[in-house]
């Protein structure tokens, strides 16, 4: 089984990414996906996108990172969280 890497991005790589990271790890575990999460700032994410399979960002990101990007604001607001989790799991299953 290959380990999937998810970059979890927020403005200071600390507060909202911590909330999202826990949820992503929980969802991946339930789906039987081996996942590693890395908390990053937008600048760091640009430098390390080539190491990862997916970006989940709580902040607005400009441009193309070369890997799928999912807006993770639902992890902070709770609205639409189930759909976002499904999209993340579907992406990680690819």
């Amino acid at each position: 089984v290959t380990r999937k890497r998810v970059l979890v991005v927020c403005g200071t790589a600390g507060i909202t990414s911590t909330v999202a990271e826990k949820e992503i790890m929980k969802a991946a575990a339930s789906a039987g996906i081996d996942v590693q999460t890395i908390k990053l700032t937008p600048h760091e994410a640009r430098l390390r996108a080539n190491e990862a399979d997916l970006i989940v960002s709580m902040t607005a990101l400009q441009g193309d990172f070369g890997i799928p990007l999912i807006n993770g604001i639902s992890f902070v607001t709770g609205l639409g969280k189930a759909e976002i989790i499904k999209r993340i799991v579907d992406e990680l299953k690819k």
Partner: protein, 156 residues
């Protein structure tokens, strides 16, 4: 993490501007010993570059914060606003949201505070809870216990 001195209430006739609000909240955190004078400029810079208004329904929230390294100890300051203050959206900075609940976070180690963080964000789904607090005639102390009971049941 939340004490009565860290709750601010703004009745309808005292709507602050966003910078004044953030400064008042940061000063409370500083007076409580949770942050020092480096916190406010870092927070204002972060809010300008990475705003923290949340696109919720029913009532608007913002979670202004700075780098985790700037907190001397973990604490939060909550402001309840009878009239909204505009914040730019975290996920879409060109848009604004009308905010009536501001939770300013000073977290020394977000990983250790993950549980509290989770209950804060989960509470945002309950617009009715926060709206009742904004409109509440309860005393400061009672409001703080209600918020703590919701966010930090083990401390309340």
């Amino acid at each position: 993490m939340l004490t009565p001195d860290l709750l601010l209430r703004f009745p309808g006739d005292t709507v602050p501007t966003q910078p004044d609000l953030l400064e008042a909240m940061a000063k409370r955190l500083q007076a409580a010993g949770a942050v020092d004078e480096r916190f406010l400029p870092a927070l204002l810079e972060r809010e300008a570059n990475y705003p923290t208004g949340l696109p919720t329904e029913g009532i608007g929230f913002a979670i202004p914060h700075a780098d985790a390294g700037l907190a001397l100890r973990s604490a939060m300051c909550v402001a309840l606003l009878s009239e909204p203050v505009a914040f730019h959206r975290m996920d879409c900075p060109e848009e604004q949201v009308s905010v009536q609940v501001v939770v300013m976070l000073a977290l020394a180690n977000p990983d250790q505070q993950a549980q509290v963080l989770g209950s804060i964000t989960r509470s945002f789904e309950d617009a009715r809870f926060w709206r009742s607090l904004v409109e509440s005639p309860l005393s400061h102390e009672d409001l703080v216990s209600r918020i703590k009971g919701r966010l930090m049941p083990e401390e309340a």
